[in-house]
Symmetry: C2
Subunit: 337 residues, 2 copies
């Protein structure tokens, strides 16, 4: 049996990685970060492997943006577990005929993101390959005995909890669509906003850490696959159902304006577009006001968009209900490109 026949999720299922048992306090494969209890604290780790023409294209993204985003998406995983960044390492493979200047610029992008979020490059390894391949592994610290709080996992949602979201979704997906139609950052300001959201996502580190410290969130995930699919990950890991009310999902001005120009439906993108790197989380109904206030303190819009129920499925109510069928996610081994 070949990998292409069973796909990425089939492979992971076959390997049984998510079923492995770990000692108390450890978090193994299947969440946004691994967690190793270490010296009265928690070492949190996330890793991503990015391959040219699978995850990025040199034709549509600068080396600077590719570097920035490579680190940002890993930091977003730390954010979703409430981990403060410590540092990162990179494994990088390059073709021999790649310009040294490309690598310098990519490193500059990594450094920009690292400086912004306090996460320096501490080590790495280089090799040769036909396609540029970047493996980023970030480390962070999240709670533990010393601080008296625990990382927020995907698995803690309870029936009755409210589903909440930071920021706006769909903008990254609209930015990608604009890029594919040949847009660039020197276009109009709407277009520039959308491209920036796609090329330079902002990991919600500060809010994610504050929320975890507050112990108000029962589960959390960062949005990489699209809101509906990522909600499914919470539902599956928590053993609950989730109802997302599409009427309560806010659409940004930039998303509306951009979608008009692109001929796309903004609500569809907000529900199914990938790579927003906002945080989707669940809280006890009594905590909603406090969480909104916490967002305000961090100048971050936080909205309640659904609720957790008994069951195992994700439902969408309102005008967006019809888009649930489009939310299949991307399978690296089955997908095109």
């Amino acid at each position: 049996m070949k990998i292409g026949e069973i796909g990425e999720f089939g492979l992971l299922d076959k390997l049984g990685l998510y079923k492995r048992q770990f000692a108390n306090g450890w978090i193994g494969p299947g969440d946004d970060c691994a967690v190793i209890p270490f010296c009265n604290s928690n070492l949190s780790i996330s890793t991503d492997l990015l391959v040219e023409d699978v995850h990025f294209r040199r034709s549509t993204a600068s080396a600077l943006d590719i570097g920035y985003k490579a680190l940002a998406v890993n930091l977003s995983d730390l954010a979703s577990m409430g981990a403060r960044p410590l540092g990162f390492v990179m494994g990088a493979a390059f073709p021999r005929d790649l310009e040294v200047g490309w690598v310098s610029e990519m490193l500059e992008g990594l450094d920009q993101c690292g400086e912004e979020f306090g996460c320096p490059l501490v080590g790495g390894d280089t090799s040769r390959s036909d396609k540029i391949t970047l493996s980023i592994t970030v480390f962070g610290e999240s709670g533990g005995k010393r601080e008296g709080w625990n990382p927020v996992m995907r698995s803690g949602a309870n029936p009755g909890d409210v589903v909440m979201l930071t920021g706006f979704t769909g903008e990254s997906g609209a930015g990608l669509a604009a890029l594919e139609k040949g847009a660039n950052k020197s276009g109009d300001s709407t277009c520039a906003t959308l491209l920036l959201r796609h090329l330079r996502p902002t990991p919600r580190i500060i809010f994610g850490v504050a929320l975890a410290q507050s112990e108000l969130a029962t589960s959390m995930i960062d949005l990489s696959d699209g809101m509906i699919l990522d909600a499914t990950h919470i539902a599956n890991r928590s053993g609950v159902g989730i109802v997302l009310d599409s009427e309560r999902v806010s659409l940004s001005e930039a998303l509306r304006a951009g979608c008009e120009g692109l001929g796309l439906n903004p609500l569809e993108l907000a529900l199914t577009g990938g790579e927003d790197y906002e945080l989707l989380f669940t809280v006890h109904p009594g905590a909603v006001e406090r969480v909104i206030a916490l967002g305000e303190r961090h100048e971050l819009r936080v909205t309640a968009i659904g609720e957790v129920k008994n069951g195992s499925e994700v439902e969408v109510t309102g005008a967006g209900a019809k888009y649930i069928k489009n939310s299949k996610g991307y399978d690296h081994f089955k997908g095109g490109g």
Copy 2:
């Protein structure tokens, strides 16, 4: 300017990674591990990126061996800083037409090594690529305030120190040569020994940690590029010269016998062959006997093979002097294959 023109070391030099400044107690790029002081301890990290047909070939190594070795070589980096393993993450990219069974076996190899050295897989990421690409990042703990000792770096060798070595070198290089001539593990016992040393290297974790805890070593490195070249790394980072006495380098029975069959010179392999994953380290002359005794307690042969001097070069004395010119190491971007 293209990467292939300046090579791997030229690229790293150009990027200035080794010149970066870090806060007190941090160890950045340029040693075997990065170290981040964390909660009164030291988090030590090493990462390796392995690409099919650059680092391994499916035609000469089983998936089981490839997995085992991928983790073992990273653990060897931990050993050389005196770090106890905590866990590892893996980024893995596979071609679509790869058999699922290959991946299962590779994972089994990783697990075998992880169980042997107490280093479980805690997370990962998968993607698609034309060549199998494995990125392993290991974490360990080495000393720190809590334990009152510091990781052993490449940079602490002092003139007058004695250069010491664990085990025997050259066997892995002989194993590789045998593999390239079509040998397999079902061959005679000499051949099997050499292949095993190449395909399943033993990271010297227990001795490395004990040596670091003893605070007897002034510098340490694990042998991946070959003894002469790795000694050069210590010399460069410590700002010293090193004299290796080739007459004191022990040649194992398996190496001698294997080289006879292969038409190779055992001393040349012992001095320049790569991937032995033994530890090369320096100690104050007054500590030599204690270090040999420490080796005996761990059933590991430890020999004194040279000394540290003022200067900046590595010299070889005795019959092996002529092999110093062959010790150029492997440059991924310039090398063939």
